[in-house]
Amino acid sequence: MAGTDRVSMNDALSNVEVLDELPLPDEQPCIEAQPCSVVYQANFDTNFEDRNGFVTGIAKYIEEATVHANLNELLDEGQEHAVMLYTWRCCSRAIPQPKSNEQPNRVEIYEKTVEVLAPEVNKLLNFMYFQRKAIDRFSQEVKRLCHTEKRKDFVSEAYLLTLGKFINMFAVLDELKNMKSSVKNDYSTYRRAAQFLKVMSDSQTLQESQNLSMFLATQNKIRDTVKENLEKVPGYEELLADVVNICVHMFESKMYLTPSEKHMLVKVMGFGLFLMDSDLCNINKLDQKKKLRLDKIDRIFKNLEVVPLFGDMQIAPFNYIKRSKHFDASKWPLSSSQTSSPQADLMVHLPQIREDHVKYISELARYSNEVTTTYKECGSDMENKETADLALRGLQLLSEWTSVVTELYSWKLLHPTDHHQNKECPKEAEEYERATRYNYTDEEKFALIEVIAMIKGLQVLMARMETVFTDAIRRNIYAELQDFVQIILREPLRKAIKNKKDLIRSIIMSVRETCADWPRGVDPNQDPALKGKKDPESGFNLKVPRRNVGPSSTQLYMVRTMLECLISEKSGGKKTLRKDIDGTYLVQIDQFHKTSFFWNYLLSFSEYLQKCCDLSQLWYREFYLEMTMGRRINKCTVRHHHNEECNDLITMEKRIQFPIDMSMPWILTDHILKTKEPSMMEYVLYPLDLYNDSALYALTIFRKQFLYDEVEAEVNLCFDQFVYKLSEQIFGYYKQLAASIFLDKRFRVECSAVGAYLLPYPRANRYETLLKQRHVQLLGRSIDLNKLITQRINADMQKSLDLAISKFEAGDITGVVELDGLLQVNRLCHKLLSKWLALDDFDSMYREANHNVLAPYGRITLHVFWELNYDFLPNYVYNAATNRFTKYRGILFSQAVSRDRPPQMSHHYLWGTKQLNMAYTTQYSQYSGFVGPQHFHTMCKLLGYQGIAVVMEELLKIVKSLIQGSLLQFTKTLMEEAMPKICKLPRYDYGSPGVLEYYHAQLNDIVQYPDARTELFHNFREFGNIILFCLLMEQALSQEEVCDLLQAAPFQNILPRPFCKEGEKLEAKQKRLEAKYQALQIVPNIEKLGTAKQAVISREGDLLTRERLCCGLSIFEVVLNRLRSFLDDPVWVGPPPANGVMNIDECTEFHRLWSALQFVYCIPVSENELTVEEMFGEGLHWAGCTMIVLLGQQRRFEALDFCYHILRVQRVDMKDQVIKRIDLKRMCDRIRRFQVLNSQIFAILNKFLKSGENDELSVEHVRCFPPPIHPSLSSQQHYHAPDHVRP
């Protein structure tokens, strides 16, 4: 809008109206106190400045308004002095004192002291002057009102109340002055310095200084002066009795709104009675004369034993009574009794508060819905009245709850606990701690939180409806006022005119003229009532207008006071005006007077809404700070020889604030966090809002920067703590939830059957609402709670993964199954949390934890390889029967493995809780001690193609070094030194014992060879384990792939064959299925919806998936071929056979050596010796057989093997005897077993090696030799099939 454009009023207003229609969504649930960045409060209180405008009113009351205005100003000033006293912080303690008179900078110190303290001392001087002035003024007023003539006249309610406020002010100031010793200390420091410097030279200043000193030093000075002055006024006690009575009346009929007004009434009762009771006057006698009702006051004092003053200061009003002259305990049965006050017990009030809350909230909700759904310009008079009543009731409820909270708090402060009453309270606990931290039971803390939440929650709701409320309030007040003035007052006016009661007539006329808003600007002159006549038969038509505005504060005061004088029991004359007014009119006027009492509050709705919900004082602790100051001594903690300087250090370390653990807002917040109570979790932001209240109070009422700074510092600390604790808790909760979901269901059932304690699922908690908070208002800052928690939980998640891997790194290879479980639980936890928090991608986090982002191989891969190399290959023993590797724990052929210690971690980084940790540890301990298919599967999953490739590549390097290193070396040595050059197959005629004996003799060197059974076999075992590892990995991988393919099938249009009943066509059924799952098929969908490039990619992906298993790529085959390439040394095959065909008896090839080794391990051992199976397992055989196959020596081995030969012969003669300490039968059993094993191994190897070849084709490459014919058999043409040679 350009600056020059003029906008009409109507346009401007409709622009504002339009604002309402803009949708402004806020997606977070409201669980915090009223969040507002801009607060607008219009204040129309003029403090009677406009009184002269109402010249039509009765002059006396206009004069009285002037008095009120002045007195109000004094009251405001008094409030400032009270604030000054309460917030006084000791300055003198920080000021250095000259240690001796000889100190050279003594003068300088004193000068500075005076300079620094002078402005503070000035405040004290002003305070002294003020109290003098106020007491004088008060005494004057009392004197004026107590004049014998005046006594008979009526004194207005407002006047009495103002006097009451004065009494209250004196009580408060006196109490504060008594309690604050720092004020006196500071002044004496100043005085000492000033006297030294002779600043106060003239006698007047000296006198003033003396006065101030006396004033500050004398306890109860203000109280006593007031009393002294009053006692000079004759009949003052009657006026004070009126004041006390009106306070009792107002208290009992709840004619107050804010908690502080309520407390003021009680203080006035106590202090008023104290002032009245003197030598001249005995309150007990006044009670007898029914001028006072002490029994009523007694009950009030019992219900409110302690009245809050400021922050942590309070007054016990009954103490004034106890100190009065004629105190008689029998008159005060309740207050004198030892029973505890209802004020001390929040739980008594709680049910009622809850009920009121629910009732009111539902009413408000119904009304709020009505307002938002129906559009009305303005409601009817009736509706407006109901709404205004609703608003008033809301304010009253809020005020009531707030006073319950503050009164409890004050009572607790005055009744601190100790280690006898509360076992948790340590003996050396500080005063403030005993008054706050240890002074509330868990139940009370919850109740406090709940009430605070109700207050703050309702405040939000009512503030939202403020415009609706205030609109109805103004319309209602206007209507009621104008109807009363223009219509109802006509009747008494008519009567007064008729009966010539001039005074009443003029008062009623004044009322009408002061506030009537006549439709035509002036009162209707023709109104017959004005002439005391009856209305005409047809009725006198009066139309009272309607407006959206209330009366001004002065106007309201004038009307109410004038009406009050009509109905008052007292008047200046002989008889009261009441007598001349009809009873019905009196009732109407009285009713109006009562209703209109609350109009002032309602007209400043937003101000009072805030005042009724103000819980700021729960934080302030100036009194306790001053009390504790200096008493808490921290020892010098530095390790050195303590000296003088340490004493200075101690004084520097004096407490300037209490730790947050003693601070009410944090105590309550922390209580929710500590107990994790789900029903309270959503309230957790409400106690934090107390800081907002306190900060606002520091800024607007106390107006002290240092208090705000302290609140702010505490909030900074608390909020950090809050976020830290909350996010840790949330992470723990979700981890526990994930682990509980993941836990085997049958395991859980069995656990409970056995009676083992295992928590069920974690108790559902309402963290979601908290996690949705994106703008929490705290001290004017807006905080994105969700973001803060996300940051922390992201870090926790990362740490959790990191620790899972570290745990794996600290254990052997069997831990891989547990690692997988941990990763899965973390993944589930991540998934659950991701619903509310924008966490990083799980896979990225996992790769980061695995150090797999920058490096090609992760920690897991490296550790798997490390474990394979140092632990698995040298120490594990394979057994095909169980398909497991187990650890051989006897002789170790390698160095013991040393690993990092497992990291220390709290439960929530592992499985969530201690119980879950135990459950899972028990489960996964089943997987330790062996390596089986489960381990291979998880290794496959965790390593992935890349990892597997790396591991295998590295393993092949190990194999290479084995084959070309120690194995080759051994082979060479043994072939040259130990193997016989020729070793024949002895004939059957020798019998099996003979054959065995022959071989034993021939192979004696090998049998005796020291390293054969140890080092050599160990090397073969390592080699064999590698082969087995590769084989089993591939098996596991294939299964994983099959699963993948099956899962991918529906997306590739591969559907299982449907079942067909008779008469159904398979093709038709299949077509239907295809159509049904069309939406799942990736390629056609991408082709249809995606770009050409995407289509190509999807097609390629599809092809890759389809053909993954089709072309029969096998890792193991490649491994075998690689192994073959390592066997390039001539020693493996020996020189070519001399006969050009094959070696039969010569021991030059590797298989002959293996036969010799087989002979060695086939020799049965005695019971105490270790078998090779035990020590090396089948890896040994795998190594031997693989080498034989790869060298192409399998058939020769099978045909010519020594052991096989023994077995063949033994099978024929079935002999059994012990030769050379070898049991033949047992030996043969062993041979048979290994023979079967060997042929199985050969079969598997050949399957892989010859997978690409056709058996028939391979036969063509074989050169067939006719079998040699024995000369004796040459005549018989008999062919002996070579395959049938073997038994």
């Binding site: 219009a42 002036v522 959206n548 996300t790």
Partner: protein, 78 residues
């Protein structure tokens, strides 16, 4: 205490005018209050939206960081 009617009429008119004026002030006050309310809910709504925008940007930033790390293999992109 009776007021001369001429002056009384004048005062009555003034008081009536006062009602009108105060109603006018009240209308302005209500409108300012409405504007404040609007500003407050606008503030909350904006904060809520900005927070979710911020969240999205943070995710993107972190993803970029991650991808950059993946791509560079240790060297930093400049």
């Amino acid at each position: 205490m009776a007021v001369p009617s001429g002056r009384g009429e004048n005062v009555q008119k003034q008081i009536q005018q006062d009602w009108v004026n105060r109603e006018y002030i009240e209308i302005i006050t209500i409108s300012i209050k409405k504007i404040t309310d609007f500003l407050n809910s606008f503030d909350l709504s904006c904060r809520s939206k900005l927070a979710s925008l911020n969240e999205k940007l943070t995710i993107l930033e972190r993803k970029i960081d991650y991808l950059e790390a993946c791509v560079t293999k240790g060297e930093t992109l400049t």
